[in-house]
């Protein structure tokens, strides 16, 4: 894990003092709400329906045990005993008082954490593969590059008032577990024919009201030009991205309107200029950062056998653990999707337990996934049963990873001031329905994602089944989408037809899954069957 040196710590500490001063001036009336708003947003503080919401950055989703303990303490001290893990590998607290926000940030700084640039029209927290360093298929660990980008983008003086927010994801394996092509910049670290590491740049993806899959604008940026190329991409966007209409201000619209070729030409021109400016950190800095991400001291010669005699454990083992690059180890995923629960929520006690498990069993490390679950990345297989028993006892033992119960949902109208409809009750009803009918296991991998408005924080475009909440003449209405995917085969879901009320959408989802069960061929997932048979068979069953 990356550790701050005195430079990093001084920057975060200064930020806390700056925000303490800004908050004081706001409370004294010296700053208007209009002037204060972008300042608090750049510190992750939103004004929501009932209170302030504070979003904490978890760079590339990686946390130590001590950091997870601190997040738990904050949930107890400043919130109502819960934290909400988000689709951007961050955590949000929903009941924050403005006067206490500077103290909360000071508590974070004590464990090398912050809320810098988790909101606002600036470069947001950089996300990455939640299995980085543990997956067998990676070219290199993507996190050192993500950390290099974190430092470059933190307080970048030129890019604090972009046309719109800006999200960067970095991966380094063929399997995309970070929805890379649905980011403003998606970076895939690759190795060229000469064996050198470099970065493929995908620019202009995103969800929201105009979902787009990012085109590749350069196959290989040498690793010692990564920051310079990123700066060129941002400068062209800052100059020419639209500012006349908030809904057309993301970089995807610029790339779309200019065309990939013209945008790329402008970036290359700026890149050639910036190469003369000496803005790239030396490779020694990347090497310094990379030492923090060296493999932990894995034991060798461990057996891969696991005692499967407890059927509940065997189910969890099959569903929630994945192969690790090191023999005798596994990746274990803790589901934050108990049947009938709020997706991504964890209590103070649950967070403390996860922190303890990370420390004791996973080299003091855990990860937040963009699917709102928690990963223990490096677990000895011999310890899995003990871990599962403790998770079960804490209500964290749901064996439903990547199933229809593993729903991504935004906070929706229960919390969010932008939402048109509630997301959480729909997620709760769907997981209950499938748990009651017992079909969850039979349906296998089925990614269901719910957004409470067109901004798509719940990634509904990328769900095998997506649900979009809209407001129809004052009542909540839910549209059904099918066929989205965020992985290597990224695709955008299509709307099936007229929307439904809250109970109707649950029925419609079940009817769609029935089509799959009736029509699937050997080895097909829901998405595969949908792609083979097409939307009409599903429409007929849903509306017929």
């Amino acid at each position: 894990m990356y550790r701050y040196d005195h430079y990093d710590q001084a920057m975060v500490d200064s930020r806390v003092e700056e925000f303490r001063d800004q908050t004081r001036r706001r409370l004294e009336g010296k700053l208007s709400e209009d002037q204060f708003k972008p300042l608090r947003l750049q510190n992750g503080l939103y004004l929501q329906l009932h209170a302030y919401m504070l979003r904490v950055a978890i760079p590339y989703g990686t946390l130590s045990g001590a950091q997870m303990h601190a997040l738990a303490d904050i949930a107890g001290k400043y919130d109502r005993g819960y934290g909400h893990f988000t689709t951007r590998q961050n955590i949000q607290y929903n009941w924050i008082k403005l006067e206490e926000a500077p103290d909360l940030l000071a508590d974070l700084a004590r464990v090398e954490m912050h809320a810098i640039q988790t909101s606002g029209n600036c470069i947001r927290n950089t996300t990455s593969d939640h299995f980085a360093g543990a997956a067998a298929d990676e070219v290199v660990d993507p996190r050192p590059y993500a950390e290099l980008i974190r430092q470059w983008s933190t307080f970048h003086p030129e890019f604090m008032y972009l046309p719109r927010k800006f999200k960067i994801a970095v991966i380094a394996s063929q399997t995309d577990r970070a929805a890379m092509k649905l980011h403003d910049i998606g970076i895939r670290m690759v190795r060229n024919d000469a064996g050198e590491i470099g970065a493929a740049f995908y620019v202009g993806g995103g969800m929201g009201r105009t979902p787009m899959i990012a085109p590749c604008i350069r196959e290989f940026v040498p690793v010692d030009q990564l920051i310079t190329y990123s700066e060129a991409c941002l400068r062209v966007y800052n100059r020419y991205g639209r500012r006349d209409n908030k809904y057309k201000a993301r970089i995807k619209i610029l790339v779309h309107e200019l065309g990939r070729e013209e945008y790329t030409r402008q970036v290359e021109e700026e890149f050639a200029h910036l190469l003369t400016q000496g803005i790239e950190p030396p490779l020694a800095e990347l090497e310094r950062i990379a030492t923090f991400f060296a493999d932990p001291p894995f034991e060798t010669g461990l057996a891969d056998d696991v005692d499967r005699s407890d059927p509940g454990f065997a189910l969890w083992l099959d569903r929630n653990t994945l192969p690790h690059k090191q023999p005798g180890y596994a990746i274990a995923v803790i589901s934050l999707k108990p049947v009938g629960g709020i997706p991504g929520d964890a209590s103070v006690e649950q967070m403390h337990l996860m922190a303890d498990l990370a420390t004791r069993y996973s080299f003091d490390e855990c990860r937040v996934t963009h699917a709102q679950n928690i990963v223990l990345p490096h677990v000895r297989k011999a310890d899995l049963f003990a871990i599962w028993q403790q998770l079960e006892a804490a209500g964290l033992g749901a064996a439903n990873l990547d199933t229809v119960e593993d729903i991504i949902a935004c906070p929706g109208l229960d919390y969010c001031s932008l939402a048109n409809a509630r997301s959480i009750p729909v997620a709760q009803k769907i997981s209950r329905r499938f748990a009651d009918t017992g079909k969850t296991a039979e349906l296998g991998e089925l990614k269901l994602k719910i957004s409470g408005c067109i901004n798509a924080c719940g990634h509904h475009h990328a769900g095998h089944i997506g649900i979009l909440g809209v407001d129809r003449k004052g009542t909540e209405n839910y549209q059904l989408l099918l066929g989205g995917s965020e992985g290597d085969d990224t695709s955008l879901g299509k709307i099936t037809g007229p929307g439904f009320d809250e109970d109707g959408i649950v029925d419609a989802v079940e009817r769609a899954t029935d089509v799959y069960l009736a029509r699937r061929r050997e080895g097909e997932r829901f998405l595969d069957t949908y792609r083979r048979v097409g939307i009409d068979a599903f429409k007929e069953a849903i509306y017929g």
Binding site: D5, Y7, D8, A10, M11, S14, E17, E18, D21, Q22, Q35, P38, L39, N121, Q151, W152, T154, F155, H156, P157, E158, F159, M160, Y161, L162, R235, N238, R239, R243, H273, Q277, G278, I279, P281, P282, A284, E285, R288
Partner: protein
Amino acid sequence: MVELLRFREDEPVADPAVTVDAFLDQPDARAVRIEPGDDVSVLLPHLAHVQLVEVNFPVFGDGRGYSAARTLREAGYAGELRAVGDVLLDQLSNMRRCGFDAFEPERAMDPQAVQAALDRWPHDYQPAADGHVPIWKLRHG
């Protein structure tokens, strides 16, 4: 309270700043004013005798002027670079980093608060137009 903040030793130019379009018709003008939508690159061939570039911020949330400033400095412009308009205390530090060395805010500022804002940051993660040594260079020499 101050209405014009300058971080330069030379005397300010008294000439009124002309628009970019007007400047291109009279390229011997010494003062020019850039609006957010202007393409700053058209000025680059004519910078030798320019002594003042004003960059207008009609609203502080429109950040195009930061890139305009850096582009000018990276092209070697050494004259006065003045941010005018909706220029607020909390943006001064970043503006200085991007190469602005004068500020003419719509509302006058308290010099003490200005100094505190400019002294806020002990270090910088990136090199920019202010010549500050970035943290990575401090780490590696």
